[in-house]
Amino acid sequence: MELEKKISRKKPTYFREHQEALYKSLEDKHATVEVDKSDPLTTRMTLNMGPQHPATHGVLRVLMELDGEVITKCRLDTGYLHRGIEKMAENKTYQEFMPYTDRMDYISPYSNNVALCMAVERIAGIEIPERASYIRMICCELARISSHLLWLGTMIMDAGALSYFLWTFREREKIYDIFDEVTGHRFTVSHSRIGGVNNDFTPAAVEKIRKFIREFPDELKGWHKTLDRNRIFVDRNSGVGAIDHEEAIAIGLAGPSLRATGIAYDIRTFEPYLHYADMDFVVPTRTEGDNLARYYCRMEEMAESVRIIEQCFDKMPEKGPIRVDDAKKSYPSKDEVYYSMEGLIHDFMMTDTGVCPPAGAESYHAIEAPKGELGFYIQSDGTGHPWRLKINSPSFSNLQGLETILDGEMVADTVVLIGGMDPVMGDSDK
């Protein structure tokens, strides 16, 4: 009796309106699948997956209505990782906000730093030195490899093979070590500064990156060998979650998921930033639009990233400034701060007020983050704080597409599809 009382009391009573609205919305959703009602074994049920589920890569909640094994309709419930970083941005200077972007797409923090700094540089009209932009490019491509490695490990783990997770994490560990050497942090790097980067490559860091790009293509080849013709893997992914290019544009997919349908929309070629216009690389695309196509796109992107890093090392100037030498636009170097009065004042001013874009300016800048287009729309009121800062995050767009893609798929493919879409909830929930 005691136990029964306890169990009955454990019904969730909080957020009642939210729960009711979510279930009602699932009722209302137009079903896109014709179901054979004459089948006597058909069983209808509503399945609730997540938010605490290891395959949802964070805290995604999927609410689906099943007919046997087929998902007739589904709803995604996001927001479990909502921290309101757009609100926080309005109360911080631009440079103060930069470390928060590390926590958005926490799989590839370097790209987020660069995206924010470049958006601020565009609205404030700051040109960064050449060497700094090459450092940014190299690190962004490393972040892309790191992000795709995590995707590869977890997606194949979702499909049933555990060993890839260990192999990809061994490679990720090398990238962590590189970031440790370059930036001083392994994970949340916060290396980019408005007007450049924090510090230059050390010789040890250059050696580590060169060693990594020398050895990594062999690893990649090995994975291609064991996966491309792997019967279980191909059967599990081929034709799963297939979507054509018109639908993909309509539902607003981003990044590799969009390119897997045949649309070569990559910001690095769409409107080249940094020095991507001088680089020789291809944007991998596929036309099938299924999960296997997404796999091929990301695998090829990793190989292209290695090529880009090699070219960056060839074209990078040997020496040079890594930050704008203008105290109104960027932090002074630490040497100046410690040994000169002006340096100290400028450092204080940058921390207190920071960069002030012109009042009334509105600007957008996007980069190609590993998961797709990551853009910042900034409205300035002339102070050091943004009036409004809107984050256009790729995971948000992809999750919206996932809601459509999941309709009509098998329930067992849900985890593979979430893995193939590669959402990061910190990015989507802001």
């Binding site: 909080y14 957020f15 996001t78 926080m88 309509a250 729309y377 409004r388 809107k390 948000f396 999750l399």
Partner: protein
């Protein structure tokens, strides 16, 4: 991309909107149009069907904190054919925060409009599923409005018990 095609696009927009094109801001990298509320739906349809802005990237809400036309909603469109971006802005009044939905033109407007509704309380008429997207339905405030405090409103959300034997 050459400037001729871009000029043609802008010319087409000018011709289509006529006097309703309240402002055309070319000071930033991408053009920013300001149009009246009542023209937003047909302009969006025109931009998509005639000028090939097939990809709706995001919908941005902003609070200007003025007594008239307090909110603005910015539609960020991409033309994959002409490799160009376009921003279309409408102003929304605080008294009647209501806009026609564009989710029948671009499916991807669905979640973006829900986000604007969640953060600013602007309702979209005809939206198929207008629920809050990040915050629970029980939450009665719109957090990105300027008057909402940074630290939140204490007690605005009921939280689960942290002690297991709590009644």
């Amino acid at each position: 991309m050459n400037t001729e095609i871009r000029d043609n696009i802008l010319q087409d927009i000018r011709e289509y909107l006529g006097d309703d094109l309240l402002e055309l801001n070319m000071k930033q990298t991408y053009p920013l149009l300001l149009i009246p509320r009542k023209r937003i739906h047909d302009t969006c349809r025109f931009l998509k069907n005639t000028l090939h802005f097939a990809y709706l990237n995001e919908i941005i809400g902003a609070d200007r904190f003025t007594s008239e036309d307090r909110f603005e909603v910015i539609y960020h469109l991409v033309s994959l054919r002409d490799r160009w971006r376009l921003f279309v802005k409408v102003l929304v009044d605080e008294e009647q925060p209501l806009l026609p939905t564009v989710s029948d033109i671009w499916k991807s407007a669905n979640w973006n409009e829900r986000e604007v509704y969640d953060m600013f309380g602007i309702r979209f008429e005809g939206h198929p599923d207008l629920r809050r997207i990040f915050l629970p339905e029980d939450f009665k405030y719109y957090p990105l409005r300027k008057e909402f405090p940074l630290l939140g409103v204490p007690g605005s959300l009921e939280m689960p018990n942290t002690t297991p034997d709590h009644d």
